[in-house]
Chain length 461, copies 2
């Protein structure tokens, strides 16, 4: 597909942004691909914005010329969110990376949308506070808000929906809107902040966020434990959650993931289903949580419990979990990962994973399983050669099986990745036709000419 | 203002609802007033609905005839939410009081919108779970969701925004929509659930809710402590929150509130600024929290610490807090309370309360102050004779002062009551014109003929 931008638009953007406007092929290609198997679809040009006013200018100019605008952070999303199926301008916010205010006494920070989670945590050093949400990649907070991201410690600290208090957002016609506020609760009007969180750039471009911060726990401990079966590991998770133990992280990795990690990191971990835990709290609280969980795991056959409380030991234990995704990719060099991201009510998790394992047994491609099981959320790393139609077909088959199973169990097709391009067809199955119609009505009301990240979230029709 | 319903509509509703349709004056008056100073505005008729299908029928019939529909629970709201300024049908959902499912293993329950919080907690007996949100009144869960209610333990368990997972909602044209789901997180599409929570019946009528449940804590303890000044009490709160101590409740009552309680309940509590605490957790955790808070309070001059861990002793301690609102009303028999409900970032709470006390000193009417200070949220019980213009003027003056001050401190005009009729004029001041325009755009898109609770939330214009 080839597009072209109107000359007057190119001229205006060149005048305004100089070197920060580019139609270069490599720039466009880089901005038109993500971390997944989605076929790259480059935009026609890239603009590096540095302020809310600049974002508003770009959006307004594009609106005048009928050109799509696709917000871009660091490109770590996995459902084609940053692709440009209709061409247009990729609006790169990574230069908007200023931490505007840290209100330590209120436990919040105001950041530009291009600030990454690690940048924010670096800026918080010395305050005794941290920002917990950790989707793995060092994503921008704007991107994380746009996809309603979460990650390993959502089980304790919630997702971006729970941790964005306020936004500054550029609307489809270039108006600048403030939503939410800094008080811890409010009943004042429609919750526009949470309508924007998870809207994937289709209702507005978030340029600033106020996010919640948390006191760094007085004590933290980490643990790793090996199980005779995935079933036993999952039952440990279920009992832990049902007892209301406030674990900070509880992650499952299957045997193949551990094998990949051993190969990647030259470790000698048991290649068996494994749970990684982290506990946050007071010294007594952490000790109590850890003992309770160890007892549960022990009854279910968990062995080789390894505990760590010193920061360097905790990091070493968790390194394996952090390496899992890239280690799995190395199992099959040159391959890409077909994203899956289902989440089910915790009571269905064991059955959902067991049935998924039966599916995995039926295909030829290697598939690792791991995830944020405390929330009922898990991923498959489905390793495919994107040029091999048989592999792509198998990957699509298993992805569909897993999604349809999760939805049948009252779960979701995506726990934290978002819909993007890749999960649009499942939106009606999950939410029903009426809810999808209402989403379309809202999109139509706020972006009547469909210029903001067109083609994403809502299924064609 | 007098209205009349079309004969064909009356006929259809009579046919369908028989005794559950009423145009009786007392029924209409009862449904056209709330707990506050708002002048009653009765609807033209009341329908007692018993199912989602019946709600859809009423909404569809009213849409056909261009008649407003005002959802009604138990009428415990305080900002005129249930009043019928344009007449129409009060749709009473209190008969929809079935607990449809308790998923103990997943920590959620599915309820009809007319189930009250106490009913739900009664139904949960024996499960080891409870529903924490407690706005004081035994409100319906539908009403609580509609106003984004919270109450004493929001500081630990969040507000209705955090605790409604899914809804069944009847739209303005009678279509029935499902939103959300039972998995603990999802990134699948726009967050319609949270758009509905807090929309006060203006975007749809919620008929069923899935709400989060929590394990009853292994240990709970309560405490009461008296302070030499409100300032000292508030500083205790601020330090407690800033240390990240997970208090379950932390409530402030001023000296006048204590005086009212002593008169009302024949108690002999110290008539001084008082904090009420509740701690939830493991035995060790609760003990640790309590000791830390006692130390903070002690340093700030807190005295007469009274602790309780047995349920009956905890109830006795907390009874005073529960009685506060009605006790204050008795200070001036026949009066009503002019509602205020501001919430500010915790760092501004001491200043906000001190400045408010200076305002209180300037008026002749009695005003008690108490609230959910762990969230930065407090109320004034402004006692007025609604027939006395001077008192009403003083009440309006102080309400405006308090709201404008809170907003200037980056807070909100309403922490938990909602906008209703009474706080509409402050919505643009709090959120800015663009956000209010966007709220109006959404209302127009979802309810183009303005039939759902017209006149509420959005300011006239």
């Amino acid at each position: 597909m080839s597009h072209s931008l109107p000359e007057t638009l190119i001229h205006s953007l060149q005048q305004q942004f100089q070197q920060r406007f580019s139609q270069g092929e490599s720039q466009c290609l880089q901005h038109g691909r993500d971390e997944s198997v989605h076929t790259p679809q480059p935009p026609d040009a890239v603009v590096m914005a540095e302020s809310t006013a600049e974002v508003a200018t770009v959006v307004r100019l594009c609106a005048q010329h009928g050109i799509p605008v696709i917000p871009y952070g660091v490109g770590s999303s996995v459902e084609g969110h940053v692709l440009a199926p209709q061409g247009g301008i990729s609006l790169d916010l990574s230069g908007m990376n200023e931490v505007l205010a840290i209100h330590a006494e209120d436990g919040d920070a105001v950041v530009q949308a291009g600030v990454t989670r690690k940048q924010l945590n670096d800026a918080l050093k010395g305050t005794g506070l941290f920002f917990p949400i950790d989707p793995g990649a060092d994503a921008t907070l704007g991107g994380m808000a746009a996809t309603r991201a979460s990650g390993t410690n959502a089980v304790r600290y919630g997702t971006m929906k729970d941790n964005v208090l306020a936004t500054t957002t550029v609307l489809a016609d270039g108006r600048v809107m403030k939503t939410g506020g800094r008080s811890r609760k409010s009943s004042a009007g429609y919750d526009l902040t949470r309508l924007l969180v998870g809207s994937e750039g289709t209702l507005g471009v978030m340029t600033e966020l106020t996010v919640k911060l948390y006191p760094i726990p007085e004590a933290m401990s980490a643990a790793v434990c090996t199980f005779p079966s995935i079933e036993a590991a999952v039952q440990t998770v279920i009992q832990t959650i049902q007892l209301g133990i406030p674990v900070a992280r509880i992650e499952l990795l299957d045997a193949l993931s551990l094998k990949a990690i051993n190969l990647f990191s030259k470790t000698t971990l048991a290649e068996a289903p494994t749970l990684f835990f982290e506990f946050h709290g007071s010294p007594a609280g952490v000790e109590e949580q850890a003992q309770t969980v160890q007892a549960i795991a022990g009854e279910l056959g968990g062995t080789d419990f390894e505990w760590a409380t010193r920061p360097e030991d905790r990091s070493r234990l968790w390194q394996a979990r952090h390496d899992a995704y890239f280690a799995c990719l190395q199992l099959k060099p040159g391959c890409r990962s077909f994203p899956t991201d289902v989440c089910v009510p915790i009571s269905r998790l064991a059955e959902c994973i067991a049935d998924t394992q039966a599916d995995i047994a039926q295909v030829s491609i290697p598939i690792a399983l791991f995830g944020h099981v405390g929330d009922g959320n898990f991923h498959l790393v489905v390793l495919v050669d994107t040029d091999n139609p048989k592999e792509m077909k198998e990957a699509a088959w298993i992805s569909q099986r897993v999604v349809e199973r999760a939805i049948a169990m009252e779960g979701t097709c995506t726990g934290e990745h978002g819909i993007g391009l890749g999960k649009r067809q499942y939106l009606p199955l999950e939410h029903g036709d009426v809810a999808v119609e209402v989403m379309r009505t809202i999109k139509q009301a706020l972006d009547p000419h469909n210029r903001l990240n067109p083609g994403k979230v809502l299924p064609p029709g």
